[in-house]
């Protein structure tokens, strides 16, 4: 199921791209990653908006948790009224979850097409559609790019350094604007996640084939560009950074729940801004 729906189509598309761009695997990875990111933009924008909305609602949720700390049923009912019921919360995660298979498929297809060992070459053979033109002539895939053998880690650590830098950069963009109260625990968590993600990806690029590091770098840059394009707060941060001005403070969005307000209304108002 996974192979038929994700892995094989991705692998065939990537190899086809490789042949179209003149047997440059690096260029094929770059173009394919960008194409996949373009296709998944609606999902990532949806996820981004959900994330921002959750951050904005943090003070209110904190307030409610404090108010109903001894009445869990009441707290749950109130949260549901505001649009934070279990189903809604899950729905909020959905766009993020949907992205994972695509990203994993992309990662696996790159490993597949590189076919650096006998077993992976046989796997590639099984993955390629019979109608694929001139498949035999593309083997072995050209794994060389400047000083790099894309099947091996970068011996000069240039790519791992780029992976660390771009991961950190993209994490800065992904981390939502702090809420009105500065974010508190959520902001700390986001900061910690950002740091650990950067460390993990840096470590992986030291160990893994440099072809995958190229994918990490392009993917991170795509994230950066996408967030700069779609998120006003992040765009302002970049402009301020480039003009060497103080970083902008996030807009204070006071979201309250008052008696008589319709369920979910405050939430929607927060999301629109």
């Amino acid at each position: 199921m996974w192979n038929a729906l994700i892995l094989y189509p991705f692998t065939n598309a990537l190899l086809l791209l490789y042949s179209v761009v003149g047997n440059s695997f690096t260029l094929a990875i770059v173009i394919f990653t960008v194409l996949i990111r373009l296709v998944t933009i609606p999902l990532t924008v949806w996820a981004q908006k959900n994330q921002q909305r959750m951050t904005e609602m943090q003070p209110l949720m904190k307030e409610l948790q404090e108010k109903y700390k001894d009445q869990p049923e009441k707290l749950q009912a109130e949260m549901a009224r505001l649009g934070f019921g279990p189903t809604t919360m899950l729905g909020g995660c959905l766009p993020m979850l949907l992205q994972f298979p695509i990203m994993i498929g992309l990662y696996q297809s790159i490993t597949h097409v590189m076919a650096v060992s006998p077993l992976t070459l046989i796997d590639l053979y099984h993955a390629i559609y019979p109608i694929f033109p001139n498949f035999d002539q593309l083997i072995p895939v050209n794994n060389h790019f400047f000083w790099l053998n894309l099947a091996l880690p970068d011996p000069y650590y240039v790519l791992p350094a780029l992976v660390v830098a771009t991961t950190w950069l993209s994490q800065q963009m992904v981390t939502p604007a702090p809420s009105a109260d500065g974010g508190g625990q959520a902001a700390e968590m986001a900061k910690s996640m950002s740091l650990s993600t950067t460390v993990v990806f840096g470590f992986m690029s030291l160990q893994f084939a440099s072809g995958l590091s190229i994918y990490f770098v392009v993917s991170n840059l795509a994230t950066f560009v996408q967030y700069a394009w779609t998120n006003e707060y992040q765009r302002k941060r970049i402009i301020a950074f480039l003009k060497r001005e103080p970083l902008p403070k996030p807009e204070v969005k006071k979201v309250t729940t008052s008696k008589g307000s319709k369920p979910g209304k405050a939430l929607k108002a927060g999301a629109k801004k």
Partner: protein, 355 residues
């Protein structure tokens, strides 16, 4: 405190996600096998094991201590007198005492993985490397010369005392002078070459990853004839008298006349045939990727018996099977056990091995 725990939980989840995305540390290739009349050698993963051929009981393993990060064995070892030669993905070739498993010497001159099995002649050992080089060593492990192709070398060469024939992933096969390493001739074929060639009576038989088996004149590389297969020919061809047998990755096994390349018969086994067939008398033993072992009549390819290696997880038979005495020895990649010894006459399991 709770916040810290949450942070570590998140970090752990992230690690788990990344690891699952990358997949479990997979085998990179299939197990390698070699044998003497009383011993079976299996090279797979971190170790090479020597087992009693009669009952599969382990005699020794190399290295004696487990150190999975330093050695990765996948190619067929080669037994020559008292020495067992084996190559590793850690870029090192080893000579091991075949009786005790003690290291005799090691060669660390390769710059990339050693995917291919070594080839051994009277006074030399040839190590083909994914770094494009063929290294000729003395039997003491000293480097004699190096030959460089245009792409990686994944297959063991076919070697005589005078000429070494080395196939390359660069689509060419090279004939190299055994004493100097100089190129005698080279010929470009229609695809990459990942299977070991077979030298028989001045003819070189080699399959390509472009659905073809070639018969070349060993003296000058000129094509004598070729047979079009249905899939990649990665299997080493086996000559028995004036008949040649080979398999392809679409699951066909071919019987071909060596003189003109006329196909005698073709049998479809249902899944990829990567391992070289073994001929014993009038029988042919073949394994197919999906877990089935076959005994076929060499005369017409009809099935004598077939056996599923592992009923629960019969998958990925890609290495070369062996026949030792009255046993067919098979090493799957993913199965309950590492090695299965089947009765040559009916396919019943006589013993199996798992370290």
């Amino acid at each position: 405190m709770i916040q810290k725990i949450r942070q570590w939980w998140l970090l752990g989840s992230l690690f788990a996600l990344l690891v699952s995305a990358c997949g479990a540390a997979p085998a990179q290739s299939w197990p390698g096998l070699a044998s003497s009349p009383d011993t079976v050698y299996i090279a797979f993963g971190a170790n090479v094991f020597a087992l009693n051929a009669a009952d599969g009981v382990q005699r020794w393993k190399f290295p004696a201590e487990n150190n999975s990060s330093s050695t990765e064995f996948f190619s067929d070892p080669v037994l020559d007198g008292d020495a067992l030669y084996v190559t590793s993905y850690n870029k090192t070739a080893y000579a091991v005492d075949a009786k005790t498993g003690k290291l005799l010497w090691e060669f660390k001159g390769s710059k990339d993985r050693l995917i291919a099995a070594p080839a051994v002649t009277g006074d030399a050992i040839y190590i083909a490397s994914a770094d494009n080089n063929l290294y000729a060593l003395s039997k003491k492990g000293e480097l004699k010369w190096t030959f460089t192709a245009k792409n990686g070398l994944w297959a063991a060469p076919a070697a005589s005392d005078k000429v070494v024939y080395i196939p390359s992933m660069d689509h060419s096969i090279y004939a190299v002078d055994a004493s100097s390493g100089k190129t005698l001739w080279s010929v470009e074929l229609n695809g990459a070459l990942a299977g070991t060639p077979t030298l028989s009576k001045e003819t070189l038989f080699v399959g390509t990853l472009s659905d073809t088996l070639y018969a070349l004149d060993a003296s000058n590389g000129k094509e004598k004839w070729k047979v079009k297969s249905e899939g990649w020919v990665w299997s080493r061809a086996v000559v028995d008298g004036d008949t040649l047998y080979f398999g392809d990755l679409k699951g066909s096994i071919f019987s071909v006349g060596t003189s003109e390349g006329k196909v005698n018969w073709k049998q479809q086994l249902g899944s990829s045939v990567r391992g070289a067939p073994v001929v014993v008398g009038d029988k042919l033993f073949v394994i197919a990727e999906d877990g089935l072992a076959f005994s076929l009549k060499a005369s017409d390819g009809s099935t004598v018996w077939k056996k599923s290696i592992d009923d629960e997880n019969a998958d990925r038979l890609l290495g070369n099977p062996l026949v030792v005495n009255d046993l067919v020895v098979i090493a799957p990649i993913y199965a309950k056990n590492w090695l299965y010894a089947l009765n040559i006459n009916d396919g019943t399991t006589k013993w199996f091995f798992k370290p």
